[in-house]
């Protein structure tokens, strides 16, 4: 129970495309510890996003089992899955995925409101986190009035709002220039170090990969190899 925060056991994901079956994941076995910074790398189409979606309870595996905190997610109903997504997991997407008609503040408050947090409390918390990501002067801006980097910072703030155990970031810097990307990375590794949250991040960027404790390389839906990065950990 205590040992693994996340555990994948022979996980398969097979997409049905008409008559054709597309196996996106083929028998993944993986354990992620509490407070670990895991990077997932691999070529396009290797199944990285598919794996993230499964871990994030946005989808269920075709075969095999996924455990979150010791519980098989297949045993949860839809509303329990929604609750896990809302409380335990914070998503950061490549496309930022903010609600375009809500301001930065409202976007960050949204996950708290889904958890029935008091409006005034949610507001306070959201402002706090927006301050943390350096956007206190942009809280009333709509996403369209923000730069890409700023939008991604709002997205990170939104992911952090409910104080989740796990941050899932699917190519969070993929749409940003390298300088902004580095800033986003600093933010993510910051929350990992300071709040000891587990961070799982998909990235193609070789430099970013080096910040992780472990790197999982995917190829054609299978784990090709796993690398360990000890020196970074010791430096922190």
């Amino acid at each position: 129970m205590e040992s693994h925060l996340i555990k994948l056991e022979n996980v398969w994901k097979i997409y049905q495309m008409g008559d054709v079956q597309v196996p996106a994941l083929r028998g993944i076995d993986l354990e992620v510890e509490k407070g670990e910074f895991l990077a997932i790398a691999g070529s396009s189409g290797s199944g990285k996003s598919t794996m993230m979606n499964l871990i994030g309870c946005l989808d269920l595996p075709s075969k095999g089992r996924i455990f979150l905190g010791g519980n098989d997610i297949a045993s949860f109903g839809e509303s329990q899955l929604a609750q896990i997504r809302g409380r335990k997991i914070g998503f950061v997407f490549q496309q930022f995925n903010l609600i375009p008609t809500l301001t930065a503040l409202e976007n960050v408050m949204l996950p708290l409101e889904f958890q029935d947090v008091d409006t005034s409390k949610a507001r306070k918390k959201a402002l706090e986190i927006l301050n943390l990501v350096g956007l206190s002067d942009r809280v009333h801006h709509l996403p369209s009035q923000l730069s890409g980097g700023q939008q991604q910072r709002v997205a990170i703030a939104r992911a952090l709002a409910v104080d989740p155990e796990i941050i899932l970031a699917d190519e969070p810097t993929g749409n940003l220039d390298s300088k902004t990307g580095a800033f986003i990375m600093d933010l993510l590794s910051g929350v990992h170090r300071e709040d000891s949250k587990s961070v799982i991040m998909v990235t193609h960027d070789f430099h970013l990969v080096k910040r992780a404790d472990r790197i999982v390389y995917l190829k054609d839906g299978e784990i090709e190899r796993i690398e360990h990065n000890h020196k970074e950990q010791g430096g922190a």
């Binding site: 946005l58 509303s79 997504r85 997407f93 609600i99 008609t101 949204l110 409101e113 409006t119 939104r158």
Partner: protein, 419 residues
Amino acid sequence: MKVRKSLRLAVNILVHSKLRSWLTIIGIVIGIAAVVAIVSIGAGLQQDVESHLGGLGADLITISPGGGRASAGFRGPPGHEQGSTATSTDAENLTKKDVQVLQSVDGVALIQATVSGQGEVYYLGEKASVSIEGVDPLVWKEMTTSELASGRFLGPSDYNVVIVGNSIAENTFKQPLTVNRMITIEDKPFRIVGILQESGGFGGDDRSIIMPIDAARDTLEDVGEEEFDSITIKAANTDDVEQIMEEAEQKLLISRHLTEDTKDFRISSSQSTLETMSDITQTISSFLTAIAAVSLLVGSVGIANTMFTSVLEKTKEIGIMKAIGAKNGDIMMIFLLNSAIVGLVGGLLGIGLGTGISSLLPLLGMGIMGMGGAGMTTVITPLLLIGALLLSMGIGMAAGVIPAYRASKLKPVDALRYE
């Protein structure tokens, strides 16, 4: 998530929705406006009928000649038949004997026998044809619900004096008629002793001249001695009206040597006339309301269509919301409230439009069903407005149920992938 927060999101969606989705509100606006206007007209009709007929008292029963006619509903109010001489010449008139027979009916308080007809009235060189009613002055004073605007009622010893209905006094001649003026009716001089208050469009004595029955007999053509154009009974007790009607009919049939089939008189009560009128106005209103309902239906299909499009456009956002913890119920609530608000806004605009229409209609002076040209009344009650609002909200919600359900059932991964 709490309803209040879902509401905020629903409003947010609405505020940022495109003009296209606002346009579909028009269907609801028109439908609700039509419903409000129609119901207010119907209620107005009802009120007119009730105030002008019901004012005559629920305890009045009228017997008039002309049984060949099946429908008694539109012949005017009891005791105040207008222009009925045209038919009264066809049928056997009512006689003094009939009055005596009716006097023997149980529960009768008063009996009024009248003669009536059209008469040529001259005043200051102008001429007009007016309906004349000859009444027993004392009984009429007891039974009428008309009130005097000026002057006095007819007295027992009066002969060539008249009381003039409000509309005739005010509008028929260039110079208004006033108390103590002399007018000439069928070449005979009459002095005006009283002017009646306006009784409203339907029924009443607005367009009549009332004179003692003896004078009327001498003045009007075609009125035989001992004959009457109508007999009005006032029941001692309102509850006995039905029973009095039945007994009166039986006794009259016997004394006039008639059967049900050869019956040549009609008996109606102000109650039964009121009911007939109510039935008719009810039928008209329900028919019009049905038309309005069709327009509401079309409007709701429009909203449903918009909602489907809106859900489709928001697929990605639904995915995002689900990814950050929205439950199916939250999504359902947001979209349901969204369409309820659309309905509500449509309802509010519709109520505004409908109220506008219904308050303009009386100004157009439209007379409906020959209601004396007094214009139509429209009645808007708070109940109608609340009902219309609830209806529009309900329609909005009903139209949104399926799209909202579809939205709530979207799989988060699929929704997120949607571009």
